[in-house]
């Protein structure tokens, strides 16, 4: 009898997106016999008080998780400012010599709209 329950109690991970620009976010896990039932239960179990735009259901056993040991591989030194804008901050002063504004992140991301001439 207790074995028959095992097939019903499969673990599914639930992910959701708040709106069409938000990233997918992990919510929680639930037990269900299959993806379809998991899907119809997911929203009301984890998002009944917040807006939700999309839901993903993933079977836990399909996820390759990291072991405690492997998580060591995620650490790195803090010497990589050449990869970020932090390493190029001096440009601001440089451009000023040429009487130009620096094209920083804020400026560049503002270009999605109309560019002022």
């Amino acid at each position: 009898m207790s074995d028959s329950g095992k097939g019903f109690y499969q673990v599914f991970e639930v992910f959701s997106r708040k709106n069409d620009t938000a990233p997918l976010q992990h919510q929680f896990s639930l037990l269900a016999p299959n993806h379809e039932i998991a899907l119809v239960m997911a929203q009301e179990n984890f998002m009944r008080r917040e807006p939700v735009y999309d839901i993903w259901i993933v079977k836990r056993s399909d996820i390759r998780q990291m072991t405690q040991e492997e998580k060591e591989s995620l650490k790195r030194l803090d010497n990589k400012d050449y990869r970020t804008t932090k390493g190029y901050g001096y440009l601001k002063k440089k451009w000023r010599q040429y009487e130009q504004e620096m094209l920083d992140e804020k400026e560049i991301l503002s270009w999605k709209g109309e560019i002022q001439r």
């Binding site: 039932i37 239960m41 929203q43």
Partner: protein, 280 residues
């Protein structure tokens, strides 16, 4: 003749004063809609904590809440029309004054929600699925209701029906396609629900007038739409969908009800009746 003009729209409850017959038929329709949703949500609320699976308990409860919320919106429309306070209409009316379909008042199974409940999940899935589909057909028609406040409510309610339908349809198809005992239970539940399903689809003795006044379309047309929606599901699951359904235990639209409704009203109004004038 009042209301014969199919383009006539009534924008506000105050305008109903000039159309007494229209108002009477509208009240009848609103009671059917409100009482149906109230009683099935009440039956759903009895399941709380007792569903076959914890996650499903949570999901089902949201549907019961939505559905009771829909009932509250209809009672609110009645309140605005001067018929009575929404809570009094929901709690204070006798069974003979109620207009819900008999199928929806039936107990969830033997026993009481506090004592030896042997609730029937197959019956619950089938009743909810078939009812939600019928509700969807009615709501789609009500979106062009001549009483504009009701049309506006229908647009809102429609939004929540997609989830309800998806939820019940998923359970229905999976259980009916499961081997052995489950399929048998589901087939019995389908037979039981269809025996009284004509009571859900009918609009009662004032149905013709409702169509005439442009409140909702003719019940035969709505019935055909329900059959059209259900046919592929029946075919897909190898079940037989008859052309006619029963009204075995009476027509709730005419105030005919069973002892199940008396008992439900006694329970749902137990605290309210302690002092119906008190603020709770």
């Amino acid at each position: 003749m009042e209301g014969r003009d199919s383009t006539m729209k009534i924008m506000k409850p105050e305008e109903l004063m000039q159309h007494p017959e229209y108002k009477e038929v509208l009240i009848e329709l609103l009671f059917q809609l409100a009482d149906d949703d109230l009683i099935i949500a009440y039956r759903g609320s009895e399941w709380l904590g007792l569903a076959p699976h914890i996650e499903e308990d949570v999901a089902f409860s949201s549907i019961s809440q939505d559905t009771m919320g829909h009932a509250a919106m209809y009672y609110q429309l009645l309140e605005e029309m001067g018929v009575g306070n929404a809570d009094d209409l929901a709690h204070g009316r006798k069974a003979s004054e109620r207009r819900n379909a008999v199928l929806l008042e039936e107990v969830n199974g033997s026993g009481h929600y506090l004592h030896e409940p042997r609730y029937d999940w197959a019956f619950t899935v089938v009743r909810n699925y078939f009812y939600t589909q019928a509700k969807k057909v009615r709501i789609d028609s009500l979106k062009s209701c001549s009483y504009v406040p009701l049309a506006q409510v229908a647009v809102k309610i429609n939004m929540e029906l997609y989830y309800h339908l998806m939820h019940w349809k998923t359970w229905f198809i999976q259980l009916v396609n499961a081997p052995g005992e489950a399929r048998e239970r589901m087939k019995n539940a389908v037979a039981k629900v269809l025996d009284d399903f004509a009571g859900v689809l009918t609009l009662g003795s004032k149905g013709k007038k409702m169509a005439e006044f442009g409140l909702i379309e003719d019940e035969d047309l709505l019935k055909q739409r329900w059959i059209q929606a259900m046919k592929p599901i029946f075919e897909q699951t190898n079940l037989n969908l008859p052309n006619n359904f029963g009204m075995k235990r009476g027509n709730g639209r005419n105030g005919e009800h069973t002892a199940d409704l008396d008992e439900a009203i006694a329970t749902l109004s137990e605290v309210y009746r302690l002092d119906s004038l008190a603020n709770w």
